[in-house]
Subunit: 210 residues, 2 copies
Amino acid sequence: MNRKDIPRIIISRLPVYLRTLQRLQQEGRQTISSQTLGEILGTTAAQIRKDISQFGEFGKQGTGYNIPYLVEQLQHILHLDDIWDVAVVGIGDLGHALARYQGFVDRGFRITALFDNDPEKIGRQIQGLTIEDASLIPSRIPELGIKIAMLTVPVSVAQQTADVLVRAGVRGILNYAPIHLNLPEGVCIEHIDPAIGLQRMTYYIGQRKG
Amino acid sequence: MNRKDIPRIIISRLPVYLRTLQRLQQEGRQTISSQTLGEILGTTAAQIRKDISQFGEFGKQGTGYNIPYLVEQLQHILHLDDIWDVAVVGIGDLGHALARYQGFVDRGFRITALFDNDPEKIGRQIQGLTIEDASLIPSRIPELGIKIAMLTVPVSVAQQTADVLVRAGVRGILNYAPIHLNLPEGVCIEHIDPAIGLQRMTYYIGQRKG
DNA sequence: CTTGATTTGTGATAAAGTTAACAGAAACAC
DNA sequence: GTGTTTCTGTTAACTTTATCACAAATCAAG
Ligand SMILES: NC(=O)c1ccc[n+]([C@@H]2O[C@H](COP(=O)([O-])OP(=O)(O)OC[C@H]3O[C@@H](n4cnc5c(N)ncnc54)[C@H](O)[C@@H]3O)[C@@H](O)[C@H]2O)c1
Ligand SMILES: NC(=O)c1ccc[n+]([C@@H]2O[C@H](COP(=O)([O-])OP(=O)(O)OC[C@H]3O[C@@H](n4cnc5c(N)ncnc54)[C@H](O)[C@@H]3O)[C@@H](O)[C@H]2O)c1
C-alpha cells in the first residue's frame, strides 16, 4: 500500500463513500453490501469493492462491510482521525455562510480563523470567532498551526492571496474564486465554482428555447 | 458530431476553458495557442486541442485560436446563447449568498425565483426578488419556464424537494446538500460539497500531527 | 452437517482517456 | 520568394480506469 501509487480518481471517491456511510451509521445501520451501497450512490458494486480493496480487506464475504468499522478505516485513510483547523479568507456573503455553517465538524474540520481586509469587517464576530486583519495571515496562520484555507475573496486578488497563504504554511486551499490558481508542487488545490456545474448541465439539457 | 457520443469528461472541461477565455477576452487579448492556454490552466496543449476539435476546427495553424470566436463557439456548444433562468430553493445562509451573487449573468445564468418554506422569510426581498412560498413551486416553476434550480435546503428535505422540482419541470439541479440525490433519467444533477474537496486534500497533506 | 444464497477480493478483459508525434497550414523574417 | 518558426487537427501508441466473472469465505436454514 504505497499512498502515492493509488490513483487520484479512487481517492476522489472515498469521501463520497464516507459521507454516505456516516449517514447510514447515524441512522443505526450496522452493515452494508457493495451492491446496496452502489444503489444508494448510483454507482456499481464492483467499483466500490475495487476502490476499498486498495487499502486492505475491510469486508466480509456473505455479510458485506461493517459500517462503523469501515467509517473508521476511511477516516484513517483520509487522515481524518483528528479534526483539522481551517481558515476562511474573505468574509463576504460566501465566507460568512461558510463561517456560520455547522456541518464541517462531523466531517473532520473546524473553522478557527477568519480574515478580511475591509476595516468595516475586521473585529466583528461570527459564531464566537473574530474577523482578523488579512495582513496578519503571515503570523497568525503558523501560530495557529493552520494547514488548510477556504478562499472566498474576489477573483482580482485570489492568486496573490493564495500565494500569501502558501508562504504562511498552508498546504491545501479550497478555492471559491472562479479562476484557476497556480500553486507550487505539494500544495493541494480544489476548485468550487457553481457556474461550471451549471454549464455542464446545460450541454445536456439543450437549448433554452426549442 | 453526435452530442451524446462525446465523452462526458470532455464536456466537463469545456466550462473551464470558457471561463478562462472569457477572462482573457475581457483583458483584451485576441488570440491564444493551446500551449499557452494549457500553461494557464495547468493542463496540456494536446488535451485542449483534442477536446476542442471534437466540435469542429476552430483554430488556425501558426496563430492559435481567436478568443472571441472560440468563446462564442463554446457558448453555443454549451447552450449558453441565451441566458437561463434559475431558481434558488432554500434561502438560508448559502441560498442568500447565491441570490446576492452578481457573477452568474456573465456565465449565462440569471436567478429569477427564490423559494423557502419559513414564514419568517417568505415575502422578504433580496436583490429585488421576493422570496416565495416553497409550496408554490409546482405552479411558479412552469409559469416562469424555469429549467434549472440550485438546491440549498437541509439534507433532511433535499431528496423530497428535488422530487418536487423535477415534477414541476426542472431539468437540472445543482445540489448543495451533502447527500447523493437519486433522480430520474434525463434530469441532470451536479453536487457541490466543500467537505468532499477538503477530504480529498487531507489524504495528500498527511497527518495533522507529525 | 449439508445445501443454497450471499458477498468479498481479485485476476483477466474491455473500455476509455491521455500523450506523443507529425503532416500540413499559416505567419514571419529578410 | 524562400526558409524558418509556429501551431492546429489527427492518427496511433500508450496508459489508465472500469467491468466482468469467479474462487473462496460466510451465513442461514433444515
Ligand atoms: N456569493 C456566491 O454565492 C458566490 C458564488 C460563486 C462564486 N463566488 C466567488 O466567491 C468569492 C467571494 O464571493 P462573495 O459573494 O462572498 O463576495 P464578496 O464581495 O461578498 O466578499 C468578498 C470579501 O473578500 C474581502 N476581501 C477583498 N480583498 C481581500 C483581501 N485582499 N484579503 C482578504 N479579504 C479580502 C472583501 O472585503 C469581502 O468581504 C468571489 O471570488 C466570488 O466570485 C461567490
Ligand atoms: N452554509 C454553508 O456554507 C454550507 C456549506 C456546505 C453545505 N451546505 C449545505 O447547504 C444547505 C443549506 O445550508 P445553509 O447553511 O444555507 O442552511 P440554512 O439552515 O441556513 O438554510 C436552509 C434554508 O432552507 C429552508 N428550508 C427548509 N426546508 C425547506 C423546504 N422543505 N422547502 C424550502 N425551503 C426549506 C430553511 O427555511 C432555510 O432558510 C444544507 O444542506 C447544508 O448542509 C451549506
